[in-house]
Symmetry: C2
Subunit: 403 residues, 2 copies
């Protein structure tokens, strides 16, 4: 199941990036589950990671390696085992894998970033990865974006990726990004795994600022089930190999394109959310500030009762009111509030509209893409959150399979 | 479905309390859906209510009427319509019902408390209630606790009530309480509807203090689906008709009994939670303070991924670690953390126990009553939260029926 998810036939290579994947039989069989991304020397790299207190071993190693200044050259990613809640042994496993790649490529240990996704609480059989490193390096090619986007999947029903090109000063800049994740999705600074690369030149400090901003209205504005992964990692890479570097005159264009890629990838996760039958956009307008608007949007997006009503296409808007009412915000005056389902208004100044007919709500709820719009009339700020519905299939996926 | 829910054959009448119910055909047919509770003159009454910004009309009227000092004499309760998100018209409906009861019983308008439970966002047909008031008053009797406990139900599979008696100074004190609620349960100060009465004498101010304390570790320590109702109301009544009044020498005994009744009623809601197949107790120990412990217990109790694993009896304890990791607490040091599933230890000092075998976890998970114990080794405080699992039946109930 997925809701209007566009699966690209091809993705544009990014100058300065090679990728590859192989079968390491970590959990899955007959599919690639081990991937490598190589960056040209001198590339900028920025990352955001889960805020979980139980951050996985690879996340801890990534944070450590991103501190150094020599530059990141390799990203190694396995699917099927999260290497999370694995203590000191898990940290050692992540470091062993980095060390093997560093040795085979004659780079520094801390120029390698490790990533894992899959079951939490099982030790990672790192030796299965270590013995495959030479084959993994042999698999590198500029044209492997689709192959790797598939190799990082777990409960995803399909790969999720986006390419975008810009012309600047007669030169072409490419931004290609991929992501995985379908459940345990309410990123807190980042989502499951996402890798976005551009051949524009952007130095590390600026790249990190751009990423932090881009994340706010993309990966940090989605929820499937309100659960936050131990392994959330989002990496933005800038190789500079297009010959164009970020400057005052081109930054709006380049940053705008990066933001757009982030938002499309984040939305792709929701379109492919576990059990999703609806793609739901919740906008909160005229709030006192951004955080206030977002708390209300998330209260609606997280509510199991709103999500089961969405699954049932039931215009039971009382549950939306309930969810707004429980949002942890101060001094919400519901007597000023207006509520829309698509183009149909339900509440004005906190009162149900007498003209409203249930058929109007039904028509909106029958759609696959549903917009819920909440006007607080209490300020100038707004926020949007994207979510999915809560279906039998979600229970089935998460009760019957171990993820 | 319910998990080891004890349904009493009889409930002890409370001196000074009469109750009754009738069919008003508000939403349901062939069952009582309108109830009245009468208190003896001079009774103490305390209440706690939802913190929802969308507090229902009857909740707003209850808060107003409890301000006055003449004393509460009647509680009127309808099931099937919540009279929530109904604006000024909803407030007028609630007041019309109070006015009719006040007139027929020759009491003051503000000596009547109204309560509603059911669908949110539909106007309450108050005239159906008003025309039934004489019949409702005729139905009053001391022995109707079971009848009324049934008449306040909505998606509950059975009535939930408890009686407890104490001997003090050769006199018998009775405490009888009833509650309803099965979904939209994460009370924030109180739960759906609960009514507890004693014939001990306790004046209003003290009664409110006792209730506030009792609620913390009972109704404010449960969650079914993390959704908070617009109508949560809990009323504690003390008629004094046993001839025993609260004093320094008997207060531990009386307050202890009230606390026990609150906790058993709150647990009964979880045992009858929508779709529940498990009754789950989550204890967090050795935390820096109570709020810290409770945030972690709630993070685990709310997690859809933990709840689907519980439904599947899958000892996938990595999801418990994930949920602990996302709790909104500061400076959680997982390297000190210990985790138990029943009597089986899984983590010690943040590391998985090598001796742990999956069969041990499976044995614990196969039980209907599951205990999850988390030791933080970071202080002296502890908190316990009770919850249910997340099953196909929950989705079915909330997608197929409008509640």
């Amino acid at each position: 199941m997925s809701v209007n998810l566009t699966i690209p036939d091809s993705l544009s290579p990014v100058k300065g990036i090679r990728l590859g994947s192989i079968e390491a039989n970590l959990r899955y069989t007959n599919r690639d589950d081990l991937s490598l991304i190589e960056l040209a020397e001198g590339s900028g790299v920025a990352g955001v990671f889960t805020q979980s207190a139980f951050s996985a071993a690879p996340v801890l190693v990534c944070r450590e390696h991103l501190q150094q200044t020599e530059g990141i050259r390799y990203l190694v990613i396995n699917a099927g085992n999260a290497n999370a809640a694995t203590g000191e042994e898990g940290l050692t496993s992540a470091r062993m894998i980095c060390a093997e790649i560093a040795e085979e490529t004659m780079t520094a240990l801390n120029s390698v970033l490790p990533f894992s996704t899959g079951v939490i609480g099982e030790q990672l059989p790192y030796w299965k990865i270590v013995e495959q490193v030479p084959a993994l390096i042999d698999s590198l090619s500029e044209d492997n974006w689709i192959k790797v986007a598939q190799a990082i999947m777990t409960t995803d029903t399909s790969m999720k990726a986006v390419s975008k090109s810009l012309e600047i000063d007669g030169k072409t800049i490419t931004i290609t990004g991929m992501t995985k994740g379908a459940g345990m999705i309410e990123p807190n600074m980042a989502t499951m795994l996402a890798y976005i690369a551009t051949d524009a030149g952007i130095e590390n400090k600026r790249l990190q600022e751009i990423l932090n901003d881009a994340v706010r209205d993309s990966f940090n504005s989605i929820t499937v089930d309100s659960d936050t992964s131990t392994n959330d990692s989002l990496i933005l890479m800038a190789t500079g190999k297009s010959g164009v570097s970020l400057n005052d005159s081109n930054q709006d264009q380049i940053i705008g394109a990066i933001n757009e890629v982030c938002q499309r990838l984040a939305q792709a996760i929701i379109r492919d959310a576990e059990g999703a039958t609806k793609f739901v956009t919740i906008s909160v307008e005229s709030a006192p500030d951004y955080a206030y608007a977002k708390e209300i949007a998330y209260a609606v997006a997280r509510s199991p009762l709103v999500k089961t009503a969405l699954f049932a296409s039931d215009p039971n808007w009382g549950r939306i009111a309930m969810a707004i009412g429980k949002a942890p915000v101060k001094d919400l005056d519901v007597s000023k509030l207006a509520l829309w389902l698509g183009d149909t208004q339900l509440l004005e100044a906190g009162e149900p509209l007498e003209a409203y007919q249930e058929e109007q709500g039904q028509k909106e709820m029958d759609k696959e893409e549903i917009n819920i719009r909440i006007q607080l009339n209490a300020g100038e700020s707004s926020a949007t959150v994207w979510t999915s519905d809560l279906s039998h299939e979600y229970i089935k996926i998460n009760a019957e399979y171990r993820s």
